[in-house]
């Protein structure tokens, strides 16, 4: 899993850091780093989280499938293991509402 560009070693770590910093800025500017946004979403009072997530899914879907179409990337689909997925996501949602981040 090194990718078509075969970036390895230190440059790969620096790339990861840059990706993470960008993601951190985006999550903060999207207000997803706030308790009020997360819990407000689950209380159906503030739809910021859904807006950000669905926009990311839409843009990313078009982008990633375009890359697959031009043979520049591969999909990485996590297979469904029903019991683990159902119980895990149920537990995740409960914890998410308690933590709020």
């Amino acid at each position: 899993m090194t990718g078509p560009l075969e970036i390895t070693g230190i440059p790969r770590l620096i790339l990861g850091l840059a990706t993470g910093i960008t993601l951190g800025i985006l999550l903060d500017k999207g207000r997803l780093t706030k308790y009020e946004t997360i819990v407000g979403q689950f209380l159906l009072k503030d739809f910021t989280m859904l807006k950000v997530m669905l926009s990311a899914v839409l843009a990313g879907s078009i982008g990633v499938y375009f890359l697959v179409y031009i043979n520049a990337a591969e999909l990485h689909i996590t297979p469904v293991i029903p019991a683990r997925l159902l119980i895990g996501s149920t537990i995740f949602g409960i914890g998410f509402a308690l933590l709020g981040y």
């Binding site: 090194t2 990718g3 560009l5 790969r12 790339l15 990861g16 990706t19 993470g20 910093i21 960008t22 993601l23 951190g24 800025i25 985006l26 999550l27 903060d28 500017k29 999207g30 780093t33 308790y35 009020e36 979403q41 689950f42 209380l43 807006k51 950000v52 997530m53 926009s55 990311a56 899914v57 839409l58 843009a59 990313g60 879907s61 982008g63 990633v64 890359l67 990337a73 591969e74 999909l75 990485h76 996590t78 297979p79 469904v80 683990r84 997925l85 895990g88 996501s89 149920t90 537990i91 995740f92 949602g93 409960i94 914890g95 998410f96 509402a97 308690l98 933590l99 709020g100 981040y101």
Partner: protein, 175 residues
Amino acid sequence: MKFLQKKSWNPYITGGLIGLLAMFTFYTVDRPMGIAGAFSQTTVMIQSIFVPEYVNNNEYIRKTMPEGPGVNWSWMVFLGIFIGAFISSRMSGEFKKEIVPGLWKSRFGSGKVKRLITAFWGGVILLFGALLAGGCTMWHGINGSLQLALSGWIFFMIVFITGIINAGILYRGVK
């Protein structure tokens, strides 16, 4: 850099940029972003200092971390998120040390211990769920769903349903 000084950006544009960042990681390193895995990776990194034999013989660790528990791309993303969010909130003046969020205070009072215990166990439950489900909001919810993976959409929907139910119970009777 004036755009970094804003408190928040339009959610649709911010989301779109996260989508483009996902596209970027598929292209550059051929893998989706995940956050929850880096927490268990950090635990294993600490364990490998004190109990290396346990780490070497643990089947779960061998399976989920074939490259070993060292610092890798995913872990650097995890580290970067803290730095990025810190830079962003410092530049907008939003950064603050907050233990009890305003919304929590309006329902449960300003007691710090109550909030800290809830947040701690909420985090434990959340991470346990993520490791069981094989991903978090970033891995399944965004990167799984954008690949139109069934696992991603199921996760997305169940997390929303249980989150709504639990928040409803926690804040029942509050307008």
